[in-house]
Amino acid sequence: MMRFNTTRFGELEVDNDRLITFPDGIPGFPDVKRYILMDYRDTSLKWLQSVDDPDIAFIVAEPKIFSPDYSVKLDDTVRQYLQIKNDMDIAILVIVRVENGNIVPNLHGPLLLNAENMRGVQIVVEKIS
């Protein structure tokens, strides 16, 4: 078990196997490497809460909600970086925010999570298919 403080949710306690490691952080937050995902029963929105910095948390969701055909090509770079053994282990999430009352998903910067080893990365997608 691991205990850590968060600005929004107070003190949290999670099993170590729920920790997701972004080995290089994500753009803007290179030193924030460990996160947890917080799911809810009644919504497909989730929080991606940092373990290393109590202030940092992202609202995330599956991209297919916004763009049914959305897919990400797992190239050799990503395969090696996340040590992917099976494509089925990869979950794709996008960061979502509200701007002027509109939902804005960041489809250009999806987060890829490898459930098998709990490694994550944010990649840059220049063209959305």
Binding site: G28, F58, I95, I103, H108, Q122
Partner: protein
């Protein structure tokens, strides 16, 4: 910043594993060839910077914002 002058077909090395070659120079455009180990992620800087600034804004999401999004999601 280190500044080097290179001609077409000339290259620079970054450490032992990364080579950047000037493929073609045309007007104000330069085509570059990049050889790097497969684990190295390479992006156009302006797109990387856009993702970075989006992340910084998004990292400040509040519980209130989550609640509003949750309401909006019910309508999708």
């Amino acid at each position: 910043m280190l500044v080097l002058t290179r001609k077409s077909d000339e290259a620079i090395k970054l450490g032992d594993d990364i080579t950047i070659t000037v493929i073609e120079i045309k007007g104000n455009q330069v085509r570059l060839g990049i050889e790097a180990p497969t684990g190295v992620r390479i992006y156009r800087k302006e797109i990387y910077e856009k993702i970075k600034s989006e992340n910084i804004i998004a990292s400040r999401a509040s519980l209130d914002e989550f609640a509003k999004l949750r309401e909006k999601f019910k309508q999708i």
